[in-house]
């Protein structure tokens, strides 16, 4: 084995993982995006530290210092309530990244379950699940999300105290967006399952008496992981966009908790006096979303085992 590896031409990658890593590293935009996202994540995590270092408080309003220009005290200036814009951007990043990542994972779980069941069992179940998926894809999602975001949780039987707490607005948006974000994963996983199901090692496992559950979890799922990772990465961007739209409309993350979306809610009124307030949060959303999309694109090229070198 080692003799064979030694015989390979110098510099040729030896394992599949190494080949994937090399293909990924060749995708410069994806690598830059990953670096940027890691940096952004760290900055968001360190928001309380940054706050202390800069000597500002993201939630402290100061009506005597509204719309302050960028300066030594507030590096990006202050908003319409005199709060420090830079600190709020960092806290907003925490929310947007937390919602984007967790909702993408939940959506991927739903999509994987649906895709693998449809692909493995085929027949009527497959037809039903895929028509259902197509139905969800073709729906006008945003108006329906608005309805879901507007419902009163108390009427669903949640205690009033809980229904009105700040945390609930975060959890509910995660649930709402993941309910609709699973469709791409489902389609990809189904397609992959169809291919893997026909492979010999699966037939061998069936012959040895493995049940459907074991086949799906042990034999198919690990082999379908690449498309799941790619689709999940690509969906993070979309989910952050949906979160920002709902928060912008006042139906997502509720102030005073900052999110990039709700920081823009008042921007339309302040646009004449302070246009930069409308620029920064949106720029953060844009940069984050495009970075996730580049990353997904790079992963797609790197993880596809059929890709030519």
């Amino acid at each position: 084995m080692s003799a064979m590896a030694d015989a390979a031409p110098r510099g040729a990658p030896r394992s599949m993982a190494a080949r994937m890593a090399r293909r990924f590293l060749e995708h410069r935009l994806a690598v830059a995006s990953l670096a940027l996202l890691v940096l952004l994540g760290l900055a968001a995590l360190a928001a309380p530290l940054a706050e202390r270092a800069l000597g500002v408080d993201a939630e402290a309003a100061n009506l005597f210092n509204r719309f302050a220009p960028p300066g030594a005290e507030h590096i990006l200036g202050t908003d319409e309530l005199g709060r420090d814009l830079a600190a709020r951007l960092l806290y907003g990043g925490r929310v947007s990244l937390a919602v984007g990542l967790s909702a993408a994972v939940f959506a991927a779980l739903i999509g994987t379950a649906i895709g693998i069941l449809a692909g493995y069992f085929g027949g009527r179940l497959d037809a039903f699940l895929m028509r259902f998926t197509d139905g969800v894809i073709s729906l006008p999602l945003l108006p329906l999300l608005i309805v879901l975001a507007a419902i009163d949780l108390e009427k669903l039987g949640l205690p009033a105290e809980l229904a009105r707490s700040e945390d609930v607005s975060l959890y509910r948006i995660i649930v709402i967006v993941s309910l609709f974000g699973w469709t791409t994963v489902a389609r990809l996983v189904r397609a992959e399952t169809l291919v893997i199901r026909a492979r010999e090692f699966v037939k061998a496992a069936v012959a040895m008496g493995a049940g459907p559950g074991r086949i799906m979890l042990v034999h198919i799922l690990p082999n379908a992981i690449s498309p799941i990772i790619v689709a999940t990465t690509l969906s993070v961007g979309n989910i952050i966009l949906f979160e920002s739209v709902l928060s912008f409309l006042g139906l997502g993350i509720q102030p005073p908790v900052a999110s990039w979306g709700n920081m823009l809610t008042n921007a339309q009124e302040t646009i004449w006096s302070a246009p930069m307030l409308a620029v920064w949060p949106g720029l953060m959303i844009f940069v984050t979303v495009i970075a996730f999309n580049f990353l997904g694109d790079g992963l797609q090229d790197a993880l596809d085992p059929r890709a030519v070198e």
Partner: protein, 324 residues
């Protein structure tokens, strides 16, 4: 062909029915139902009174029964009155639907008019500088938050340059001339187009690259056709056929984009009507708006499915039915 269309139509109607039931149930869960509002307006109302009022309006009946009543009336064309204006909701819907279709139709036509040539040229020069630039622009297009794009457009064209109105559908008072109306359309149409053109272009490029590898293209090349002629008379049709399916599935997304655009630019379309009616607890209007929006995307989807089979002679309706 007819059988295929009938099956798909039935499926669409079932989806519409399911959505109507789900939305009907969800809307009842929104804050501020008629009883809530009565309680707010009359603080002396006791809980027992509230229960009696609920019974009076039939709100104590099970949800399925209430939905059944609503559906029965709706099927006869009675969708109820708006709580805010007291007018029949259908009467309020038609002009809004027209405005939305105008916005959507123009942006869609514009998106395709940009995406098809751009994607084709990018595919012909795959991995070149032009292809790379177009790809970057596409990523930027579908990574931009729609409301932010609208804000930036307003900042640039209305606040800074003062070229175009920031919102509305015409100057206040009096009738608008055609040029005036067109001026109010530039920003909403432009925003919506920028949001949708990226994914169409990328799909067109991928589809064209696939097509250019086909045998009949090699034959055309071997005959000595120039690249441009070959693409125009042979490859374009083959590459555009899959675009039709993507188009069908994108109507829902387009409508979502239109909703934001309409809100940002005060365009009196259906998306804005749905949003406003939800905020104003105008249940009947919200319900009918959501149903028509869903019906619109389903019809778009259906037409795209039929067009797909009609455009691609290799796919027969029978094989599509058998495949499902």
């Amino acid at each position: 062909m007819l059988r295929f269309a009938a099956v798909r139509l039935t499926e669409s109607l079932i989806v519409l029915l399911l959505v109507s039931f789900a939305v009907y149930g969800l809307i009842g869960l929104m804050p501020g139902d008629p009883i809530d509002i009565m309680i707010q307006s009359d603080p002396k109302l006791t809980p027992a009174d509230a229960e009696r009022l609920k019974a009076l309006y039939g709100l104590d009946r099970p949800i399925v029964e209430r939905y059944g009543n609503w559906l029965g009336a709706a099927l006869q064309g009675d969708f109820g009155n708006s709580r805010v204006t007291m007018r029949p909701v259908l009467e309020m819907l038609w002009p809004r639907l027209g405005n939305s279709l105008l916005l959507l139709g123009i942006s869609l036509a514009l998106s395709l008019a940009i995406a098809i040539p751009l994607g084709t040229i990018a595919a012909m020069r795959a991995n070149g500088v032009f292809d790379y630039t177009v790809n970057l622009a596409c990523f930027a297009g579908f990574s931009t938050p729609p409301f932010w794009l609208a804000l930036l457009a307003i900042i640039l064209f209305s606040v800074t340059l003062g070229w175009l109105p920031a919102g509305g559908m015409g100057p206040a008072g009096g009738t608008a001339s055609l040029i005036d109306s067109a001026r109010y359309m530039v920003l909403p149409v432009g925003t919506l187009t920028m949001l949708s053109v990226g994914s169409f272009t990328r799909f067109m490029r991928a589809s064209m690259i696939q097509t250019l590898r086909q045998d009949y293209i090699r034959t055309a090349r071997a005959k000595g056709l120039s690249e441009g002629r070959m693409v125009r008379s042979h490859a374009l049709r083959g590459a555009m056929t899959p675009l039709v399916t993507v188009l069908g599935l994108s109507f829902g997304g387009l409508f979502s984009g239109a909703l934001i655009t309409e809100i940002m630019f005060a365009w009196q379309g259906m998306g804005r009507m749905i949003y406003d009616s939800i905020l104003a607890n105008d249940y009947n209007l919200a319900l009918v708006g959501l149903l028509f929006a869903t019906a619109m995307t389903l019809v778009g989807n259906l037409l795209a499915d039929i067009a797909y089979v009609w455009l691609d002679p290799r796919v027969s309706f029978r094989s599509l039915e058998a495949g499902r």
